[in-house]
């Protein structure tokens, strides 16, 4: 089961290393990981997705809590969070297929960032499921390259860490 762990950490060199090394040392597999600074420049938020049972996630949470640089850890409940991901995707495109791709982009709410006589590069920011769907729709056109950020997440409503 995929679970989302949100971690507030001190924005310092080596902190990310410390956190990922904890995952590798305890043999917890990371599905995706996204890091960025928060509204406080001294704090970063790391969003980690793990695909494991509850006991593993609980253990991850406890171990993270022991790191000096970690301010707060929370496992986000899937129903009360917004989990968002950005994907850049480049596909083969020519005069014949360009129209079809444009239609898919329109339906899915994706934007075209770059176009050449033989390629198109799009951007989509959405839930991971919708991002997957978009990728699936483009597969017949021959995907050249994909880059995904991994999920970033916040709690819905006024709840905060």
């Amino acid at each position: 089961m995929k679970q989302t762990i949100s971690v507030l950490v001190e924005n310092q060199a080596g902190v990310l290393n410390r956190i990922t090394s904890l995952f590798s040392r305890r043999a917890f597999n990371i599905e995706s990981l996204a890091v960025g600074v928060t509204d406080y420049p001294s704090l970063s938020r790391i969003t980690i997705i793990v695909d494991s049972g509850n006991s593993v996630v609980e253990q991850v949470e406890k171990q993270l809590n022991k790191l000096v640089e970690v301010i707060k850890v929370r496992t986000l409940d899937e129903h009360s969070m917004i989990g968002w991901e950005l994907m850049l995707i480049k596909v083969s495109a020519n005069a014949r297929t360009r129209e079809n791709i444009m239609t898919i982009c329109q339906i899915m709410g994706a934007r075209v960032l770059d176009v050449t006589p033989t390629t198109m590069t799009m951007e989509i920011a959405d839930t991971p499921v919708r991002v997957d769907d978009f990728e699936g729709m483009l597969r017949p056109f021959h995907i050249l390259e994909v880059a995904r950020t991994g999920i970033i997440a916040l709690q819905k409503g006024s709840g905060k860490m």
Binding site: S21, K62, V68
Partner: protein, 573 residues
């Protein structure tokens, strides 16, 4: 007030009431040692033969005194030589602050001479690893390091100073603040929020739930783990056990947390657990483990471990709960505080039938007579001749298990052993550290020939500082514990475990300026130990033992706890 950076380091040590540091100098840490020269009267430096020895000594000092140990080393090989010692301290939750220096900022990351990413290496084996790049942060980092090392579940911390940070021209704003006060400082409070430096608040509801469970139990078993020792909760544990009237199994790390000679003691539990402990574990209906992480050497097979019992875990570290064994109930808090709260409300129970079932399973503890010297005889001689409060430091392997089995420990810090990391070579360093911290006590180092060879160069430290440490070498000419596994599990294929080689340990002792003795039977052992106790210097006793002696009983790794591969008695082999 502005003072030089290195002086701030020394003053910060004095803030923490540090009077002894162990270490080894080198290129990058020269500035610190130069300052140490000026602090000679206030801070005693113990120069070991090897950084690993210094690390174990600081660890042994910490374990035996309850204070934070301090160890210095230089960059590169100095730092990497510490790592085994750091990991040993980490796995056994021993508070040690390791201070290393690294190359200067301008050389950092350039693969300079003796450069290594010390904090990177130390990351998974420390509670925290600080890289100091700005001299102004020295007081904060030093205070944080000591606070982190000593608080909650103790453990090692590394501080790595860049050489330029320690330059004589670096001046630091500094005010002396005794440690009790500086724990309230802004810098400490800042990490306190993220890193519970305060003891966790014990939940009263959890206490009541356990009292309820205890009331319903007919066959309770207690496990005394390392948390009782580190938390100095021996008195509270004893009261608890006596009120519970329950058998007490003691883990390797729990040695000294509950008197080994107590009527309720069933001895070790797990792989080399006594029949009494392991059967009790299998048959109990309530298992209360205090400060014990249910390592794979205790809970050999998590699925069948204490299968009839409700399992209760008391631990200061939340991350230990349900890590190895799923518990039915747990209490987060220091052993001392939780047990005090339990004892307040705990009535006196009686479990005569249960005790009658378990306690007679304990093995007789008198060594049998024999022509050749046996491990049990060696330990019996030590038990009878050494002062009751003598500190025992062991290495790792058969001699370690025998020592824990046959010697009785009665207070926290009396047994110094590498239980978690299983570091061969730990013993002599730990022994000399303990002797430095406890000049009024006898320190006995129990070792094997394999382990002794690993760090016996520290005999020069024993000699130089005039430490009366007695090293008792269980010399069976083999890597005994591994041979035992080869004997039982690997079809007697003794691959590379026979240690048929020098040196002559008696001559070695003499070469280091110490007394050396050899014992081949009980009488010689008695005589040798008597002389060693009174010779006035450190001593080595070479005990010649049979290489096929085995640690009994034994349960194979991963097996149910009562599926003995070897039982207590020889006949069943």
């Amino acid at each position: 007030m502005k003072i030089p950076a290195t002086q701030a380091i020394m003053e910060c040590l004095l803030e923490q009431e540090v009077d002894t540091v162990f270490g080894y100098p080198g290129g990058t840490i020269l500035n610190v040692y130069d300052e140490l020269y000026r602090y000679q009267g206030k801070i005693r430096h113990v120069l070991t033969a090897h950084e690993q020895g210094a690390a174990h000594a600081a660890d042994g000092y910490a374990r035996s005194t309850g204070k934070v140990g301090v160890c210095f080393a230089t960059s590169g090989p100095g730092a990497t030589n510490l790592t085994t010692g750091i990991a040993t301290a980490y796995l056994d939750s021993s508070p040690v602050v390791f201070i290393t220096c690294n190359v200067g900022e301008s050389l950092l990351g350039k693969d300079a001479f003796q450069e290594v990413d010390s904090t990177g290496i130390a990351m998974p084996i420390t509670k925290a690893a600080f890289l100091v790049r700005d001299a102004q942060t020295i007081p904060d980092v030093m205070r944080q390091a000591f606070a982190v090392a000593a608080s909650g579940r103790p453990g090692p911390v590394l501080i790595d100073f860049l050489k330029n940070v320690t330059a004589p021209t670096e001046m630091v704003d500094y005010t002396f603040i005794p440690w009790r006060e500086n724990r309230q400082c802004e810098s400490i409070r800042h990490i306190n929020a993220s890193h519970q430096l305060k003891e966790p608040e014990v939940d009263r509801q959890d206490i009541d739930t356990l009292l309820e469970m205890i009331a319903q139990s007919q066959r309770p078993l207690l496990i005394c783990g390392g948390g009782v020792v580190r938390g100095k909760a021996d008195q509270q544990f004893r009261t608890f056990a006596e009120r519970m009237d329950a058998p007490v199994a003691i883990t390797v790390m729990g040695g000294g947390g509950f008197p080994g000679s107590h009527l309720l003691t069933t001895g070790m539990i797990g792989m080399h657990g006594s029949q009494a402990s392991n059967v009790a574990c299998d048959e109990c209906d309530l298992l209360i483990a205090v400060g014990c992480r249910f390592s794979d050497r205790v809970a050999l097979d998590p699925k069948t471990f204490a299968k009839q019992a409700k399992i209760v875990q008391i631990d200061i570290d939340r991350a230990e709960i349900d890590k190895n064994i799923l518990t039915d109930h747990h209490i987060i808090g220091s052993a001392r505080q939780v047990l005090e709260m339990l004892n307040e409300k705990l009535p006196q129970y009686q479990h005569p039938e249960w005790k009658e079932r378990i306690l007679p399973l304990r093995a007789p503890s008198v060594a049998e007579d024999s022509e050749k010297l046996t491990p049990q005889q060696v330990l019996e001689v030590i038990r009878l001749q050494a002062p009751q409060d003598a500190i025992v430091a062991t290495d790792v392997g058969q001699h370690q298990m025998w020592a824990i089995k046959y010697l009785h420990f009665s207070y926290p810090g009396q047994l110094l052993t590498s239980g978690g990391f299983g570091t061969m070579g730990f013993g002599l360093g730990a022994a000399l550290g303990a002797q430095m911290g406890n000049p009024d006590k006898r320190v006995i180092h129990i070792t094997g020939d394999g382990c002794f060879r690993m760090n016996c160069h520290e005999l020069c430290t024993v000699e130089h500082y005039g430490l009366p440490v007695i090293s008792v070498v269980f010399n069976n000419g083999t890597l005994g514990m591994v041979r035992q596994w080869q004997n039982l599990i690997y079809g007697k294929r003794f691959s590379e475990t026979t240690l048929d080689r020098g040196p002559d340990f008696v001559k070695l002792a003499e070469a280091y300026g110490l007394h050396g003795y050899r014992a081949t039977n009980r009488q010689e052992m008695e005589e040798a130990f008597r002389q060693a106790l009174s010779c006035g210097t450190g001593a080595v006793i070479d005990c010649v033992l049979d290489m096929d002696e085995m640690v009994r009983p034994m349960v194979a790794a991963g097996s149910p706890i009562t599926k003995f591969l070897l039982t207590e008695q020889e006949a069943s082999l």
